[in-house]
């Protein structure tokens, strides 16, 4: 069975041991069979449980505000952050694991904020053992970061939900009362009944405006005080006049009533507000997940050689901290003592631990794997790389989309226009009859309430973002859609973004009577045990095929050329063109032609020589992702200027650029992360305004450029840090989604424009009617919901995304006749 990592292998062993095989059935049922993962060559899992790295969890001091609390009969309850949760199956596994241990009563996993609540008996099983068990399953637990902001968000969420519930209650009841009244108007109604219904309606409207609608009134007051135009202003004006006019009319026994419109309006606007709130909340959750990467406590090495435990954020630059095996590094720093391997997957996305030694820089949030390290601190907390990224995201999440800002500005203009028109109406009608003059201006104030306008923009953006998410494109920041609507400049990172980011043997052409499979098997045997990317590329090419153990003797490695040796009695050589010259073999013209073609596709030729004869030629290179070529072409068709930035050698970058059909002057190779940032900055200063600058990348080396671009698009599966820096995540295997996203953005912006026109048109029409004195309560009651409903249905019925079918003919295909057949 293939495993992606040792964690999975360990988890699999434990699951079998505990008799929990159902996990796999459940996982497949919930998330589909998932993608294929490569075969790992992991080490054996030791049965002994290692709690050393988790001992700090037994100290209640480590938890701050979230310390374990007793909950009776010796049980203790604690809430922990859990890293590595993916789906319902993870929750199942953890909750089941609790039952396998005496003294661990239960675990309740909350997927929405990646926490778990554990109830256990510290006398029987200390928390460090539980943590160690969970880490064997592949989940890393840590104390919760002091959650002021989260607490605030949670209570804000509750307050909003309660407001929506109250407003919904008022609106629903006001509606049926209104229906009774309109029916009564049609078929006749007893005056007493009418008045009871009207009174009930007005009371409901007052409750609705007074309690849940309070937030609009407060917003309007704040907007008046700070003199910043805001959508709350006209909304507050409309609902208060509506409510007051209703009260006055009921007291005087009149028939005018707008309570149904007012209550419905408050309800709809609150729902819209909550949708927006949820979106920002998601971004904030991503941030707090990132913050949990860094530990709260650190072991400081004092000048006299002793150690003491201190809070990680109180460390000073220049201090030395000791990081034991299986511990996370608390701050950015430089290794001063020790050698180890560190797992940087959380920060950079590199899948394998890398070796580090004295003098190497380490980042906060990386995990130390093998042995203890002493690290000199160079940056702490918000100054560290993870901290800076977190700051960046929080800033981005707090910004308002320009489209929403425009709606707010219009709201300001709106309120003055409406008040002006109301005064004008009153003035014009006054000579005719003062009573009617007041009636008509009040009607104007109510019907001109810009509910559609206030709903239209945020709703359209929220719906588009939601639809994108259901297609695997995660968008954070509502301004993304607007910025992508017009073509501009787009820069791609090469390795890992346009290409798969690893060397592969793309194609092997046999050139002689010897079967390809034999040649490949011999080549694999020759390369086995050779530690070189090309060797592993050849072994991957062979893949799961059954291989025969072939005897290799006299293996000789020519650095920078290839390998030679005797395989089953044949002298075999595998290497590049230099090795070919070294061995004195000359390829035939046909083979040279294939090699040229391989080179023109951005790959390097790999020759296999057997007994002095060229028997096969293959292409080794970083293979293009499927759809890369088509994406680039479609984007150019849309008018985007496509370019490529690569840290790789300029020649390689140029070859790949040529294969993709990019202009040579738009392909920049050998650029450092800082230079990438500079390129992005220059592109954006050169074309400020209408032309957006987009960066698409996957690695931490792209993170700065991603953040600096107008829109950064991160490829999922890459480094988590780069994901955090970019407002858009794209699934890595589906580059074509990029093109869909551009098209969807343009359509969303058009929808917003259409909604603007519609709601302004409605309001102008209703205001005109009111000024002429033609607005009856009935017309007002019909017009107001209709304008909101039109806007809603426009948003919901217009398709944001259209499928773009991959067009196979544009894919790179090496249409070479198989020379083995020609030769045979």
């Amino acid at each position: 069975m293939p495993f992606c990592c040792n964690g999975c292998r360990g988890a699999y062993a434990l699951i079998q041991q505990w008799g929990l095989e159902d996990y796999y059935a459940l996982r497949d049922q919930l998330v589909g069979t998932g993608e294929q993962v490569g075969t790992g060559s992991g080490s054996q899992l030791s049965d002994a449980l290692d709690t050393e790295g988790w001992l700090s969890l037994d100290d209640p001091e480590a938890f701050g505000d979230h310390a374990p609390e007793a909950c009776g009969e010796g049980w203790v309850r604690v809430r922990l952050a859990v890293a590595g949760l993916h789906c319902g199956a993870c929750a199942w596994l953890i909750e089941r694991a609790a039952r396998q241990h005496a003294g661990w009563q239960s675990a309740r996993v909350r997927l929405s904020d990646h926490t778990a609540e554990l109830i256990y008996d510290p006398e029987v099983i200390p928390l460090s053992q539980i943590a160690a068990q969970m880490s064997r399953l592949g989940y890393r637990v840590s104390p919760l970061v002091s959650g002021d902001a989260e607490q605030r968000r949670a209570s804000e969420n509750r307050a909003l939900l309660i407001a929506i519930a109250t407003a919904g209650f008022c609106a629903a009841n006001a509606m049926w009362i209104a229906v009774a009244l309109y029916a009564g108007e049609h078929s006749g109604i007893d005056a007493n009944h009418g008045s009871v219904l009207r009174w009930s309606g007005v009371i409901l409207a007052c409750i609705s405006v007074g309690i849940p609608g309070n937030t609009f009134l407060r917003g309007a007051l704040a907007s008046l005080r700070t003199r910043t135009p805001h959508m709350d202003l006209p909304v507050a004006l409309g609902i208060t006049t509506g409510c007051l006019a209703g009260v006055v009319s009921v007291v005087r026994g009149g028939e005018d009533n707008y309570f149904d419109s007012v209550t419905m309006l408050v309800f709809l606007l609150l729902v819209g507000r909550w949708v927006q709130f949820r979106q920002q909340h998601r971004a904030a959750e991503a941030v707090s997940l990132l913050m949990r990467l860094t530990p709260r406590q650190a072991t400081r090495v004092n000048a006299n050689g002793t150690t003491s435990t201190v809070w990680a954020d109180r460390l000073d630059v220049g201090e030395i901290v000791r990081v034991g095996p299986r511990q996370a590094i608390p701050a950015d720093g430089r290794v001063v003592v020790g050698e180890s391997r560190i797992d940087r997957s959380l920060v950079t996305g590199e899948s394998l631990p890398i070796a580090i030694t004295v003098g190497d820089a380490v980042l906060a949030g990386c995990h130390n794997v093998t042995s203890s390290l002493d690290v000199e601190v160079t940056a702490v907390g918000t100054e560290s790389r993870v901290g800076r990224l977190t700051q960046l995201i929080e800033d981005a999440a707090g910004e308002k989309a320009p489209l929403v800002q425009r709606a707010d500005r219009i709201g300001g203009v709106f309120v003055f226009t409406v008040v002006g028109l109301a005064v004008l109406t009153a003035y014009a009608w006054w000579p005719h009859s003062p009573g009617e003059a007041i009636n008509h201006s009040v009607a104007l104030l109510i019907v001109a309430c810009p509910c559609a306008l206030a709903l239209a923009t945020p709703l359209a953006l929220a719906v588009a973002v939601g639809r994108a998410a259901s297609r695997g494109i995660l968008i954070r920041g509502a301004d993304v859609m607007e910025r992508l609507a017009k073509p501009g400049v787009i820069w791609f990172d090469k390795t890992g973004t346009l290409t798969l980011g690893r060397l592969d043997l793309v194609r092997l052409h046999g050139c002689s009577t010897v079967p390809e499979a034999t040649i490949l098997a011999e080549a694999v045997a020759l390369e086995s045990g050779v530690n070189h990317p090309v060797a592993s590329a050849i072994q991957r090419k062979c893949g799961g095929q059954q291989r025969i153990e072939l005897v290799v003797v006299e293996r000789q490695i020519f650095p920078g050329m290839g390998v030679t040796g005797m395989v089953s009695g044949h002298a075999l050589g595998v290497g590049n063109s230099k090795l070919l010259a070294e061995l004195g073999a000359t390829p035939a013209d046909r083979e040279m032609a294939i090699a040229d073609q391989i080179i023109s596709h951005g790959l390097s030729p790999l020759w296999i020589v057997r007994d002095g004869q060229v028997v096969a030629v293959g292409g080794v290179g970083d293979e293009l992702r499927s759809g890369a070529l088509e994406t680039v072409q479609r984007l150019s068709d849309r008018g985007w200027e496509v370019g490529m930035l690569s840290g790789d050698h300029p020649e390689t970058a140029l070859r790949i650029g040529k294969a993709l059909g990019l202009e040579p002057d738009r392909v920049l190779g050998g650029v450092s992360p800082e230079e990438k940032l500079e390129v992005i900055r220059q592109s954006s200063t050169g074309q400020r305004g209408s032309r957006p600058v987009v960066m698409v990348g996957d690695g931490v080396n792209d993170a700065a450029a991603l953040a600096a671009a107008d829109v950064g698009i991160a490829i999922r599966g890459g480094a988590s840090a780069s994901l955090q820096a970019a407002p858009v995540y794209l699934p890595g295997d589906r580059l074509l989604k990029l093109d869909e996203l551009m098209a969807a953005s343009a359509r969303t912006v058009r929808t917003v424009g259409l909604n603007f026109g519609l709601s302004v048109g409605y309001n102008a029409f209703a205001a005109g009617l009111a000024m002429l004195g033609w607005i009856s309560p009935l017309i007002a009651a019909v017009l107001m919901p209709i304008s909101s409903l039109t806007v809603l249905s426009v948003v919901l019925t217009r398709r944001t995304f259209r499928d773009s079918k991959p067009d196979g003919s544009r894919e790179i295909q090496m249409k070479t006749p198989k020379l083995s057949q020609v030769a045979a």
């Binding site: 459940l26 919930l30 789906c87 319902g88 929750a91 199942w92 909750e95 996993v109 909350r110 997927l111 929405s112 904020d113 949670a154 969420n157 509750r158 939900l161 309660i162 519930a165 109250t166 209650f169 629903a172 009841n173 007893d190 009944h193 009871v196 219904l197 009930s200």
Partner: protein
């Protein structure tokens, strides 16, 4: 038709009871996590 004087308050009172119940649920945190409960329902089989 004087039934209206009884029916209307009853209807609104019934709605109000539901509203109070809903608010209690919200305060109790039932709407905090909308992802795990549906999954847990599927897997709590013993």
């Amino acid at each position: 038709m004087s039934v209206l004087y009884v029916a209307l308050p009853i209807a609104i009172a019934m709605g109000a009871v539901a509203l109070v119940a809903c608010i209690r649920c919200i305060r109790g945190g039932q709407f905090e996590d909308l992802e795990s409960p549906p999954v847990r329902m599927l897997i709590d089989d013993d």
